[in-house]
Amino acid sequence: MEQNVLGLPAGFRDVMFEEAEARRRIENEFAAVLGSSGYREIIPSGVEYLEVYERGKQGVHDRAIRFLDRDDNLLALRADFTPAIARIVAARLREVAPPLRLWYSGPVFRKTDRHRGRYQEFAQIGAELLGDASAAADGEIIEIALRCLERCALKDVRLHINHAGIFKGIVNSLGLLAGPLAEIRSAIDRKDMRALEMRLEELGVDGSSRAEVHALSRCVGDSQTLETASGAITNEESRAAIAELSALWRRLGRWQEKVVFDLAEIDEMEYYTGVMFTFLSPSHPDELGRGGRYDGLIREFGADMPAIGFSFSVDDLRGGL
């Protein structure tokens, strides 16, 4: 149709003048902080084999914009940076002595539901610290992220922190099958406490384990939350995870005031393997960005390396200013 030449496909837009300048400024601030902290920029390919995203977050893989090349290979527009970085590290940076410090910035493409007013292309910026599984690395990546936000003049940012091992420990101690486990996970994820309680009882989970799940679902708050949690939770795996959060907390120094421990948030829990976090601004309805430790991802590409990273949506950063 003739009129389409001047329009755009649904879910896409042009970024003009002030907005383009704002994006550029944010990118420059990040580049300054990351560059001076030993992080090096990479620009991953804009197109990957779809398979690359199968190894990352499920929700991203499902929403990748896919197409065939001339040999009928199934490809996707860049839907996320982290799986691409895992591929790059496994393919060409295996021999480099760790740790690796990388950052990136650019567009990602994800299908959205029709008519929900969401864009299918958005700008992401982030960093990854690979080859270091220590609490020091966890602290470094969080501090770098907060310094970038401070440099962009984002005020009153809150950082909600959790650790994937806490919930995994409880789940493993319950010994449930996949089906019931999915129901329990869904009830916690929706914060539907009464449905959770009822289902646990129906499944014959004993009272003390039920109490642990229940205690976890209420553990939201300052560093006192960690003490409450370690008082209520007995399994070793969860307790080790809580201890890691305490160690992280002690490292955060002047950033401690920005932290909320949110042990009840289990969104994307299956993807992360350790510390996980979300950045929020009181003045902006969407989260600014998120990140965490994903020690299993690079193994999916045939190399073995711990990794932690963060990424922000540049437009949400602008919204939070």
């Binding site: 809150r158 929706r190 406490m193």
Partner: protein, 212 residues
């Protein structure tokens, strides 16, 4: 609006029950009624703001964060596959979502069932679980008339008493889901406005389950 928490209320069959429940939780809404043309108003403590919306729109507003919380039927939440918290089942607006068909129809012989419904996604999920192939016809209302007029073999719709089905010569074939109204909350609002929303959740949970 200078309120801390913005809440969406559903127009239609749930409206009176929802405001009554809020009143019992100590949240009375100023000068509002469903027929009022004014779409936004506050409670008497000025702590909450309210917006009247069509139920189908409520999860969209709440998921996007334009509105912090809402009261809406689980039929709509499931249909839109909304990514929101559902901290309180309010136990109002209870009904069943069912597959129904004309009394004399034998569905087992139909290879590819035509199903009329307001809930295409829920219907698709239901029949996919059964590994049954169906053709879905999306309608906006009066779904129970579709089989009589030859548009479909069966319907998926809500039933409260079953009277409408009976009057249209239909019977319930099977249940799809139990439906009731829920309080839904935006995921980031729950973190940004934790204290106020937790208070709302506790108040509603108390009137529904502790002091019914």
């Amino acid at each position: 609006m200078n309120t801390t928490v913005l809440i969406a209320l559903p127009k239609g069959r749930l409206y009176d029950k929802a405001t009554e429940l809020l009143a019992r939780a100590g949240i009375t809404i100023n000068g509002s009624s469903e027929s009022s043309r004014k779409l936004m108003f506050r409670d008497s403590s000025e702590k909450y703001g309210f917006v009247q919306l069509k139920p189908i729109d409520i999860p969209i507003y709440v998921e996007s964060g334009s509105i912090d919380a809402g009261i809406v039927g689980s039929d709509v939440i499931r249909e839109l596959e909304s990514d929101v918290y559902e901290p309180v089942d309010l136990a109002i607006g209870r009904c069943r979502m069912v597959v129904a068909a004309p009394v004399r129809a034998d569905l087992s012989h139909i290879q590819s069932l035509r199903v009329a419904t307001k809930y295409p996604r829920t219907t698709e999920r239901h029949f996919t679980r059964q590994r049954r192939h169906v053709h879905i016809v999306k309608l906006d209302g009066s779904v129970e008339i579709a089989p009589q007029l030859g548009l479909s073999d069966a319907i998926v719709d809500l039933v409260e008493t079953g009277k409408t089905l009976q009057e249209n010569g239909m019977r319930i074939v099977e249940e799809v889901a139990l439906i009731s109204a829920k309080l839904i909350v935006n995921r980031t609002a729950m973190k940004r406005k934790a204290a106020d929303l937790q208070q709302l959740i506790t108040k509603l949970d108390t009137v529904v389950y502790e002091n019914p």
